[in-house]
């Protein structure tokens, strides 16, 4: 069971983050309780780019630094994931390898769902399965919407300036697809 300070508050915050009604709080708390705890120390890697998936996480406390390797093998920092949020859920949906490396910034706590548990819950017509599918779908809709809007802005600005989008600007857009934001 995932022990976190104030699970109801985490559930409410997660629902808000994914634009879901607060009435689903109980179902989300039940889903979180199906997770096993993975605590991370500062600098500990949660997942590495290119590795097999097979697990997703709910980041319930702390932050993760997100990096991707460029074409010459240098890690480029793309942004930060802040609790509460889902991490790594795309790979349990489609089986693809990890698209980035996530490293704890300070101590962090996650609730992990392995592939087997995910497969069982996602196929469940009951409220826990409904909650998981709704969360993932809401996340995907947000990710697509954000990235589409951001690229459209970038294309328009670049066309006005009569230049191609910069490497830094494009790097930021790759972040929007996976839901992370620049650290302020």
């Amino acid at each position: 069971m995932l022990e976190i300070l104030n699970p109801a508050a985490v559930s409410r915050a997660l629902l808000l983050a994914y634009d879901l009604p607060p009435t689903d709080e109980r179902d989300l708390t039940l889903l979180l309780n199906r997770c096993f705890v993975e605590d991370l120390a500062d600098g500990q890697v949660l997942c590495r780019e290119g590795e097999d998936g097979g697990c997703m996480w709910f980041l319930v406390e702390g932050e993760l630094r997100v990096t991707r390797r460029d074409f010459v093998g240098v890690d480029q920092e793309l942004g930060t994931l802040r609790a509460p949020t889902m991490v790594g859920h795309m790979s349990v949906v489609d089986g693809a390898r990890r698209s980035a490396t996530c490293t704890a910034l300070g101590r962090a706590r996650t609730g992990a769902l392995d592939q087997r548990t995910y497969d069982a819950i996602v196929a469940d017509p009951g409220s826990t399965g409904q909650m998981l599918r709704t969360l993932i779908l809401s996340s995907m809709v947000q990710q697509l919407g954000r990235s589409t809007a951001r690229v459209a802005e970038l294309v328009e600005a670049s066309a006005r300036a009569r230049r191609a989008p910069s490497h830094a600007e494009l790097g930021e857009v790759t972040g929007t697809l996976d839901g992370w934001t620049r650290r302020r």
Binding site: R68, D70, R133, V141, V151, A152, S166, T174
Partner: protein
Amino acid sequence: MPDLDSLLALRQFSGVPREELALLEARGAWMRFPAHAVMMQQGEAARSAYLVVQGRLGVSVESAGGGLREVGDVMPGDVVGESALFGTGGQRSATVRTRSEVWALELTPALMADLRGTRLLVAIQRHLMEVMSRRLRSTDLAIRKAWQEQRQAEGARKTAASEAPTRGARRATEPEPDGLLSRLSRLFGGT
């Protein structure tokens, strides 16, 4: 007009009990669209999605210059307009036109709520997850490729500028070579 057997034949619904599909057939509104008609228009409010049961459609995006660009196809079993089922719905991000006569079932947030607890809803949602996952991955791939290309290009420009300053470095306001910006424009429907 399609019937329950048409729904049973869809790949996305294999394993869904017949009685649940009968519920969908009874509660959902059957919509018929003639060939070459607009099913949904880019920019209009998104209030419902459609499960296509018969027929084929094309998806296009309108660019700022007013041109239409084809971005995909819709086949029987696909769901279109899915953003209407989440959050506040927003606006249609693309125009969907029929290529043949199309029969579809209208899916609304209220209908989806009625289907809670059914294997049918699981099937619809899992189909949406697969479709959106593919879209996210292909979009990510295109942007990452552009990201890497731009890094190479910037690196090459810096090298050229430092090696031959008297010949003049590339001006930041020179028109972008046909390639990166055009490809991104095509991907996202810009000019």
